[in-house]
Symmetry: D2
Subunit: 271 residues, 4 copies
Amino acid sequence: MKILDHGSLTLVEAWGGDEQIVEAARMSTGKGFLGWGPKACSKCVGEQHDPNCGVKWMSSGALISPCTCRRPLGCDCGATGIVLGDEKLLRYLWTHKHTSPFEQVGATFEVEAPIFVFREWHRHRTQSYNEMSARYTSLPDKNYLPERCRCNPTLSENRQAQGHRKLPGTLTEVEVDAWLDDLERVYKHAQTIYDRGLDMGIPKELARLPVPVARYSRMRASANLLNWLRFLRLRTSPEAQWEIRQYAEGLQSLLAERFPRTLELFAEGGL
Amino acid sequence: MKILDHGSLTLVEAWGGDEQIVEAARMSTGKGFLGWGPKACSKCVGEQHDPNCGVKWMSSGALISPCTCRRPLGCDCGATGIVLGDEKLLRYLWTHKHTSPFEQVGATFEVEAPIFVFREWHRHRTQSYNEMSARYTSLPDKNYLPERCRCNPTLSENRQAQGHRKLPGTLTEVEVDAWLDDLERVYKHAQTIYDRGLDMGIPKELARLPVPVARYSRMRASANLLNWLRFLRLRTSPEAQWEIRQYAEGLQSLLAERFPRTLELFAEGGL
Amino acid sequence: MKILDHGSLTLVEAWGGDEQIVEAARMSTGKGFLGWGPKACSKCVGEQHDPNCGVKWMSSGALISPCTCRRPLGCDCGATGIVLGDEKLLRYLWTHKHTSPFEQVGATFEVEAPIFVFREWHRHRTQSYNEMSARYTSLPDKNYLPERCRCNPTLSENRQAQGHRKLPGTLTEVEVDAWLDDLERVYKHAQTIYDRGLDMGIPKELARLPVPVARYSRMRASANLLNWLRFLRLRTSPEAQWEIRQYAEGLQSLLAERFPRTLELFAEGGL
Amino acid sequence: MKILDHGSLTLVEAWGGDEQIVEAARMSTGKGFLGWGPKACSKCVGEQHDPNCGVKWMSSGALISPCTCRRPLGCDCGATGIVLGDEKLLRYLWTHKHTSPFEQVGATFEVEAPIFVFREWHRHRTQSYNEMSARYTSLPDKNYLPERCRCNPTLSENRQAQGHRKLPGTLTEVEVDAWLDDLERVYKHAQTIYDRGLDMGIPKELARLPVPVARYSRMRASANLLNWLRFLRLRTSPEAQWEIRQYAEGLQSLLAERFPRTLELFAEGGL
């Protein structure tokens, strides 16, 4: 999946699925995954036990005195004869913030993104990272050059973060293009000095000093689903910088293929 | 896999393998997994570049002046003609404590163990847990009863933890058996009061108060491989309590099936 | 601070305060803590720059063309002449979930609580724990005996967790007292066998097997403020077991003495 | 404390000390901090109990049969009459990797360092960070310019990381100086475009794109002592890049002022 001008996002591997989340949650009661619904209630056909019939039962479920209404006990369908499947439990877990079962499954991605995006990304301390290192290899000459409309504060959504909310007028296309040309020239200049250092024999770890934060790097990031969702909540928000949001939205759609029911709940809100 | 008298250990799922560890490590240089060895060196046939031939090259690998010895540059086989495969990198990562690639793979287990074992286990804060809860279900009546020889301090390895290292004599079989009988009676007594509370209608979360720490519970535990290995290092040590060591040793052999090369390195030491 | 029948909660040490949270947040803009308010606006006396006067300025704050209205730019008080102090930033951080500054301060507590409470507590993996160990010392003979009214499900708030919501009648005082007497007898029985084992020379780590989960233990728990607040959010909730809630409420009031402004925001909701 | 050309390191706050580490460790046995030593043994004056005298005692310490040698039991000084103080326990904890007590104390630092140093630093996921953000403020124009000798691979210790171990000759001073001049020019060029973008009204978060990874930033970092020591172990190693090593060595000396006994143990090795 392509992101920005030179970036990408690839699912390397995922483990577990929506069912394993339910299975893990059922540890607390000792049952497993029972199946998605809806389906017929196994305990009733639309008739529920009459609480006034005087029955008394033990914690084991066995009756102490006979049930006079002779209708099933403990039916959870509300006498409709139809029960929801485990999507009901999944929703319950989500809305009641029982988050631990969502840690039992997860995914690993390979990501190409500019360094300034990785800088924000790595603040999430619950992921495992392995990134390309400029100490050991020379970084490919790929830098992020934003599209013209992205540079225009009046067109961007998050005006507050731009620190220019009081700007009376707006930037012209010509002005933006001029700055983008300037930017490309700095990128080239920096690369020339980087290459020159490498060729001379300056250690790689120092030769990289002029590399701009717009330079693309690459990493693998691995986390459990709960931690991916926390990342998404923060990084798909309108307060997040537009560039990292593109990655977060890509992740969300890749995760939705593997964990469709959970990502549907995520999209409704919560967390 | 059976552990202790009523316990068990089951691999629910694993993700990645030894190869993915190498692949993740290669992020730093931009290459992937190259294959396990040994195999023929692709750069030489047992003849290495002669450092005295006067060649000079650039960081790009291109020659500046012609190589007079005409033998290959940058051969890593030491002119033997045979190179090790990626097991060499895996070993390098391990012995140099480059631990992050070992976080990119992992496994989930289902565990039945006594509460006192879970108490030690849950100090490991890097695993994700979902445990049976006595607030929501009544705990099955299974308690750990140690074998006779386990109770005899002179037969156990870890004398220090027992606080009785100065004990002049030793316990007789008859003494130990008498105590184990006592123990079984407390277990039964506790269960009677637990059941009675549940039957009366005492809330489950309080009815459990008499349950002994020897009671079996059940959980799923999920972690990446590095964190499993850290758990193993601590819990397979002779300083660990014998009971949790049985679980740690079981885990080690289950992990060895999935990550054979890494577990071999682990067995050699380190971490 | 006394909690339950034999428990306690003591603040060992705290670091930082509400001011250091603001100071840490100001890292992002390079300013420090400016003081709690309200106070007079340093930029205006109730008159704001007129956006229609045609001024144009640079990011440095310097004017490009002359300002004709000659009133101050960039006043944040809304021309009221009065600005709030840093309580405004603290509230902004809280309500916008900028949680990282709340990690820069923290506290350590010493806690005496029953084992079943510690079992719930230790699921919080962001605290640092040091607990009394029955492997190294014999546990003092103190067990939690709930008050009579606590055992009556119709009087408790969280009916759902009790698994008896369909109970037709209710428990009588006589019934509850009988069960509590039973409970005390199990506690005594367990202690007798525990002591007997220790006296015989059964290793401490095994002699503890009959100890009930109601037994008191002791620990130190250390965490940053954000993690304490996350603990409080979960454990002061009506869904939490009443016993751990007593500890959480105690913690909340001890933290409020040290971090009064943050705990006020916490009490309003969020997180 | 000054580090590199424009960097710094300041202790903001520390909590606890060597004594609190001992105190926390003593949770396991229920005792507190007893004092640093050496001091006279309170149980003997150089005479130890004779194991052949036939005494038998209970776990409580009470005698069952009379001691005939009438010399003290349970003396830990080895009949020398002199006991070490709690430095003995501190050393025991350290050498036996009982690390949890070292989590009960900690420290917060303010750090100014180049972005490429922060990139390595932030891989440590157990610290809490608050960093200056180029989204909200324009970064001061300070960039790291290495000293001449630092650029010469034959003078640096870690040749392997430099990827030039086969380099036949070495760099001349003139060559290095030329490259450092080049570097300064790129820094200036990047700053010009950065300023121009800001002045035009390009959003701050995009105007920063040309900023090099050599640019200085500022942050607060907070962690418990164990995690600081793990950071030091990795970052004071000869394998670490020289620049981050300067920060690690500075941290080590600042921590040694607050936790002198622990940092002495650290310096001996382990972890």
